[in-house]
């Protein structure tokens, strides 16, 4: 549960999506002064749309490759290259005092 909540792709999608909606609304209902401030470009609207697209990308990615699946793939890759560079060792590599040079 926590793992899913902490899927960074969902967090990015959520935050950028929320910002996108806010900016699009501000771009539609804003005063004509605010719509023209940025060299005549309605920047709130356009930036909002771009943010929504980025958010959609991350959401689709997170939904089509959920974390559990990502982890399975990582495991598979890990066994394919076992002994090569993947380490499953999670404990401290060394707690002994450093070897002194002689």
């Amino acid at each position: 549960m926590i793992q899913t909540l902490l899927d960074i792709r969902r967090i990015i999608a959520g935050l950028l999506g929320l910002y996108g909606v806010i900016l699009v609304v501000a771009g539609i209902v804003g005063s004509s002064e605010s719509k023209n401030k940025a060299a005549g470009v309605n920047i709130n609207l356009w930036a909002g749309i771009v943010l929504l697209l980025i958010a959609a990308f991350f959401l689709v990615w997170a939904l089509t490759r959920p974390l559990s699946e990502e982890l399975d793939v990582a495991e598979a890759e890990g066994s394919a290259t076992a002994g090569a560079d993947r380490t499953t060792e999670r404990e401290r590599p060394e707690t002994a005092p450093p070897e002194e040079p002689r």
């Binding site: 926590i2 909540l5 902490l6 960074i8 967090i11 990015i12 935050l15 950028l16 929320l18 910002y19 806010i22 900016l23 501000a26 771009g27 804003g30 002064e33 605010s34 719509k35 401030k37 940025a38 060299a39 005549g40 470009v41 920047i43 709130n44 356009w46 930036a47 771009v50 943010l51 980025i54 990502e70 990582a74 890990g78 394919a80 290259t81 002994g83 090569a84 560079d85 993947r86 380490t87 060792e89 999670r90 404990e91 401290r92 590599p93 060394e94 707690t95 005092p97 450093p98 070897e99 002194e100 040079p101 002689r102």
Partner: protein
């Protein structure tokens, strides 16, 4: 700096951001079981996350505001900080150094020094890193307070304390995981907001060609549009440094020193899930880094040509450092303005958080565990790391008030780098490539290099020696530090006892504990060498375009 009339909408956007980063801190807390989880995210993160965090940790607001200031002051030549400076160093870190950092399973940069050289070099470096880190953290904190107070009209002390409290909360709770996750979020907010600002600014000045025409009329003239014009020995160019100072001082010593030995950066790669991901961390970060000059140099140039008296007048809005805030006030309506202010706050917090998370790790592993108490439980080290997150932030608040006393913050930071990073890099490359380098050579070199940087700065500030500009002085100071360190390390090593060869396993060139063929089984986009070639080719092409 202009005070914005931020509306309720802008404040809401800022508040949403604060809630998000704190939320990530609370969630990340539940993942922490071991001290390695707290300090290195359990070495579990995929490469795209560590890669974006790697670049975001560097994308502090000092970098953004400072490089935009350089863009206005030096023009297109600012790209040298990126395409000559950062990119080759990032590629070197990923391809050459990471097998030794990650492969030897050290948990910090000083730990590599301890195993390669011995306790003396280790202690010197761990202490100087801890000091440098809180000093730079303090600079970030002070600059954040300054920007918030100028832009939103808050008192500078309130702004410093509020932002310190937020960083403190999420790092103490979630350790490196929440620092890294928040850095990834920061990356998108910063790039999104700056991207919108640059687009609008470019449209206003008539696109690239319109901007180029106006820069030719500006104080920078034609030279402001070229990266390499006047770079010959004795030539005249806006930076005031010839190609030797630029390539050797900036490109080789300063940048390699910063990117390959600064633990605040390397820590992101050490948290990757395997060696391949660790190697790809700086390489993935290099792709956005190639194009960040677009986001900082263009606002600098636009401010130069649109703000009356920019760089010469005395009003806040005319200061080089305020190029980006000036454009924000000029162009952005309520809503987008809130997002851009959020981006600046986010980038300052990224700088502080990167420093604090590196500080607590080095203090816990390299000072406390190595020299004070080596046999405690994992819970004890997590607890200690949390305490020292608080201590680090409190000291940073103190040093923030020291930074207040410096007129040019960017110079103060460059100075710190030339003291701490440039000599360290010499000790590293020599230790990595020369098995004969000894325990005493290591520590003597570090001390000599730091003294070299100090003397150069002293003679320059007293006027005994002179350089083309403050920037050129930093380049040469770094060069002197590197040279002094290298010479002393080699000479002392030749007269002292070498380390036993079996103690160097996994730490020196030719003795890496990795399988050289492991990457060949991967698709091309996961192979570090292929990525490195693409990045370097892009850097060459970009240099040619802007020659």
């Amino acid at each position: 700096m202009p005070t914005f009339d931020a509306s309720a909408l802008d404040y809401a956007i800022i508040a949403i951001y604060f809630v998000t980063v704190l939320g990530v801190g609370f969630l990340a807390r539940s993942l922490i079981k071991t001290d390695l989880d707290f300090f290195l995210s359990g070495r579990s993160l995929p490469a795209w996350i560590t890669g974006l965090a790697f670049i975001a940790a560097n994308l502090g607001a000092l970098e953004i505001l400072g490089m935009a200031a350089n863009g206005a002051q030096y023009g297109v030549a600012t790209v040298h900080f990126y395409w000559i400076g950062a990119i080759p160093a990032m590629v070197f870190l990923g391809l050459v150094m990471m097998p030794f950092y990650y492969g030897s399973k050290v948990r910090s940069v000083p730990e590599w020094l301890r195993r390669r050289y011995g306790r003396e070099a280790h202690l010197f470096n761990a202490l100087s890193f801890a000091v440098a880190t809180v000093l730079i953290g303090g600079v970030n904190l002070f600059a954040l307070g300054l920007v918030l107070s100028l832009m939103l009209g808050w008192s500078i002390n309130t702004a410093i304390l509020l932002s310190a409290a937020i960083v403190l909360t999420y790092i103490t709770l979630g350790g490196l995981t929440s620092a890294i996750y928040n850095e990834v979020i920061q990356f998108f907010v910063i790039v999104g907001a700056l991207g919108a600002l640059v687009t609008v600014a470019l449209i206003d000045v008539g696109g690239f060609s319109g901007l180029a025409d106006q820069v030719k009329q500006s104080p920078l003239k034609e030279a402001g549009l070229h990266a390499w014009e006047g770079m010959g020995i004795g030539g005249d160019n806006p930076i005031g440094a010839d190609w030797v100072a630029t390539v050797f001082g900036l490109g080789f010593v300063l940048s390699f020193g910063y990117w390959t030995t600064n633990f605040a950066e390397v820590q992101r790669a050490l948290s990757a899930k395997d060696l391949n991901a660790a190697q790809r961390t700086p390489l993935i970060g290099a792709f956005p880094k190639l194009f960040i000059p677009l986001l900082v140099v263009i606002p600098g140039l636009v401010a130069l040509v649109t703000v009356k008296g920019f760089g010469t007048g005395s009003a806040d809005i005319q200061q080089y450092n305020n190029a980006i805030p000036a454009l924000m006030a000029e162009y952005l309506p309520s809503g987008m303005l809130g997002l851009a202010i959020t981006a600046l706050i986010a980038s300052f917090m990224a700088g502080v958080a990167a420093n604090v998370s590196a500080f607590n790790t080095v203090v816990t592993y390299d000072l406390y565990q190595d020299y004070i108490r080596g046999d405690a439980s994992e819970r004890h080290y997590i607890w200690f790391g949390r305490i020292f997150t608080v201590v680090g932030i409190v000291i940073s608040i103190g040093t923030a008030f020291i930074a207040k006393g410096y007129e040019n913050i960017m110079n103060y930071v460059q100075l710190l780098f030339s003291y701490f990073n440039a000599p360290l890099f010499a000790t590293f490359v020599i230790g990595l490539f020369w098995k004969r380098a000894t325990r005493w050579g290591g520590v003597a070199g570090l001390v000599a290099g730091t003294l070299g940087a100090f003397l150069t700065h002293l003679l320059y500030s007293k006027g005994t020696i002179s350089f083309g500009s403050d920037l050129a002085a930093d380049f040469w100071g770094a060069g002197v530090a590197f040279g002094a360190d290298a010479i002393v390390t080699v000479v002392v090593s030749l007269f002292t006892q070498p380390r036993r060869i079996e103690d160097l396993q996994g730490l020196v060139w030719g003795m890496a504990e990795v399988d050289p063929d492991a990457d060949l089984k991967r698709p091309w986009w996961q192979r570090p060498v292929v990525l490195a070639v693409i990045i370097l080719a892009l850097a060459v092409i970009l240099n040619i375009i802007f020659i």
